[in-house]
């Protein structure tokens, strides 16, 4: 452990670079996924339409999408002959964000839909009877479901931050370019630097704890009155 701390101290700047890239990639993927997943989940939770059950089954299946498969799909999409090959994103942080979005969006969508559908009727009726317009009532339902939605966001962030298969495939673990905490841990482990691997793992857990704390702190202070 002392060895690990010494190594961490010696390689401060590189580790800081890895930490920042990890936060940037997983944070961006979570924000983008939340922007897609929350409205989509709210729509699914609040409306009835033919094929809703099938759509939910597909979303729940995608929640368990193996990261390596997500990485492979994005790899094929971004490779030269792929649909988005012209973007030349392969082995860049953008590709890593895209792969993580594929993993996180179904989680946020599925958990948002489930939590909103569970509360929708009764909250919507109360809001409407107190004079809310449809939009205000829907907003109230979403806000009242915030604990479940935040849990979905945190689960999504956790998955993105801790996954290795997809970012390894589409990022390539390139030093000073696409190396993140998880891929660095793999590298250190393969080189026999177990202490360093453990130290990086602890950093990953601490960062995850800090991010969760910040999110939950803000959720607690939320004021429903601002409708």
């Amino acid at each position: 452990m002392i060895d690990a701390i010494q190594i961490l101290a010696q390689q401060q700047s590189e580790i800081l670079e890895i930490v920042l890239l990890s936060l940037l990639v997983s944070g961006s993927a979570t924000v983008i996924s939340a922007l897609i997943g929350i409205p989509l989940g709210a729509w699914i939770g609040l409306t009835s339409f033919p094929g809703k059950g099938m759509l939910l089954r597909i979303i729940y299946t995608l929640m368990a999408l193996p990261p390596v498969l997500a990485g492979l799909l994005v790899y094929l999409l971004l490779s030269r002959s792929g649909l988005l090959g012209e973007l030349e994103w392969l082995f860049t942080p953008q590709a890593m964000i895209l792969a993580q979005c594929l993993l996180v969006t179904p989680i946020i969508t599925g958990l948002s839909a489930a939590t909103i559908a569970g509360k929708e009727g009764i909250i919507y009726d109360h809001a409407r009877s107190l004079g809310a317009t449809r939009g205000q009532a829907v907003w109230t339902v979403i806000m009242e479901s915030r604990t479940g939605i935040i849990a979905g966001i945190m689960t999504g962030f956790g998955r993105a931050f801790a996954e290795v298969g997809a970012v390894m495939l589409v990022g390539g673990n390139i030093r000073h370019s696409t190396r993140v905490l998880t891929t660095a841990i793999i590298l250190e482990t393969r080189q026999g630097n177990f202490a360093m691997g453990v130290a990086l793992g602890i950093i990953l857990l601490i960062l995850s704890f800090i991010v969760s704390s910040i999110v939950l702190m803000n959720a607690k202070d939320f004021d429903l009155g601002e409708v």
Partner: protein, 243 residues
Amino acid sequence: MNLFEITNLTKVYRGRTVLSIDKLFLERERIYAILGPNGAGKTTLLRILNLLDEPESGEIVYMDRQFFKPGHKSYEITRRMCMVFQRPLMFNTSVYNNVAYGLKLRKLQRREIERSVHEVLDFVGMQDFINYPATRLSGGEMQRVALARALVLQPEVLLLDEPTANLDPHSVQIIEEIVHNHHQQFGTSVIMVTHNLFQAKRMADEVVLLVGGEVVEKTEVETFFKHPADVRSKAFLDGTMVY
């Protein structure tokens, strides 16, 4: 001018007609008790009057204004009434924010909101709980906050769906007093669904008995309990109705 004029109203749920009212006129500034066995359509009627449910056909006029007819719904009029549910839902925030909710929707000034919330919480005896998390209140306290949340909007009509079901006698008395006092002070019209015949006797001016979605009898409360006109009313009061 009547409060509500309901004509040829039908509501169908999953192929079953749950409400079929040819004609029902309700007057202003009165307390109505809607009585009837389970599945009679009482709550459905209340929900339709608040436009939470839409009937298949019929027409509703509210104080000489077209309120509902197929293809036309006046949500603006629903803002002049408020519904209190059997199991009130408290928003996951303080008592203050729960009561202020409807006022904030109406974009009132902050000072006006504060004044109104304090006044109404005083009226329902919940002033001490103003900053308390609403979801941690007891059933009776929640119902008082739910009433405060409705009354603060100064509704012309208060729609109550079994507001004292599952409450202890003391809480029932408090709720009844609040409704009665508000009715006396502000002339609020009250339409209350209840299974409690004693409550109907204590509070209502008139009774509307629904059976199988149809209005069986609408009459003054004393007449209903002493001289019910319809054989089904008699059976309902005697407890011998088979349904």
